[in-house]
Symmetry: C2
Subunit: 226 residues, 2 copies
């Protein structure tokens, strides 16, 4: 991993911890896995004809591989195999409100994956990848909704990215100007939390009357993502 | 704007509307502005030494310019002026749960900005940009917390990106398999909403006792972002 891919050291206002995970990563790898597990939408950066494109897409993962719904990027990646991407998953946990504007910041957890994705062609692996990303977003749906048939499987673009080069960057805790001269100011300081919460299920107007919301969907209401 | 930068047409599962905004954009520009106004964290994609890097950062905007906190990217952009970036702001509104896995999707609003950012050097513009991004994240803080002094202003890296080449991609509504053969399946279908909501203010443990939470912070609790 060239040093240039490392994120820079934390700035004064960010109070970030940044660790490059080793392939034998222990706690760090666990933190990376936890950040991935807590979300289902990532931002993938890819260079298309010389221009960077950052697109949101859904993902799933097993221990070694990140699977991405690749409708946007797969064309360019098929056209230019060997193209490197960066995939970032970010959870924003709150605002850091300090005594000074300069010390303001955001508490967050961010995971990045670098690598060269391949387009998944094998039908079995495609089914596995689709299961992982469906269950990442909506646990229980793979065993509930109708599974993809051959035609649908062929029409789905899926990318696989090895989880070899990954990094984690997080920021947490109160502002850091509580022990400096600004602490004497009559200014409230702390963190304003931000939460992402599942809301109510809204039935499709075309749904047959009497079709109840299954428990695996209904039970999510009020639970937090991230 | 070369055609290659356009996002592809919507796939069967995404039911996306995608429009490239013209410089004279009317409704579309309003939709772009609304997506930007509803958030405060973006993902910026930039090529650093040949590798794509996608980093979360905070932003603010006026009618013509997007300002970005640029601690990560500014070094590479200073080193290689003229480097193009893509900045994406995404709000995830819910999961689209269809009768078939194939028709599952995500309802979201996403705004993209393409362009070559410049590093803001002028102290007045820097102050303006910082005010915009502070107020984007925490309305009311610019008039409440201590403003940046000369040293702090010099230590802050800020990027300015013209809002000339922008696009919007959104998806909303119920799944689309309610009028096909799968509608006969005994499978619930609809949307599971996702909301991002401000939580409680958590005081800095170092805060002087008796410093109350100001109204502009306290009033956000329970309100939705996005």
């Amino acid at each position: 991993m060239p040093a240039t891919r490392h994120l820079p050291p934390p700035s004064a206002t960010e109070r970030t911890r940044h660790r490059r995970l080793r392939e034998q990563g222990g706690t760090d790898r666990a933190e990376f896995d936890a950040i991935l597990a807590a979300g289902f939408v990532c931002h993938m950066g890819v260079v298309v004809d010389g221009s960077v494109l950052v697109v949101p897409t859904v993902y799933g993962a097993d221990e070694r591989t990140l699977y991405l719904h690749g409708s946007v990027a797969s064309r360019s990646l098929v056209a230019a195999p060997g193209t490197e991407v960066c995939v970032t998953v970010t959870h924003v946990d709150g605002l850091v409100l300090a005594r000074s504007v300069f010390e303001h910041g955001v508490n967050y957890r961010s995971a990045m994956v670098f690598g060269v994705p391949r387009v998944v062609e094998d039908p079995d692996e495609k089914l596995t990848g689709l299961r992982l990303l469906t269950e990442q977003a909506a646990p229980g749906q793979w065993g509930y909704a109708r599974l993809p048939n051959r035609r649908e499987l062929a029409a789905t673009a899926l990318l696989a990215l090895p989880l070899d080069e990954v990094s984690v960057k997080t920021s947490s805790g109160p502002p850091e100007d509580g022990d400096g001269p600004d602490a004497a100011l009559d200014v409230w300081a702390g963190e304003l939390l931000l939460r992402t919460v599942w809301g109510e299920p809204v039935a499709d107007p075309a749904l047959s009357p009497g079709t109840g919301v299954p428990r695996h969907i209904a039970a999510r209401q009020g639970t937090a993502l991230g």
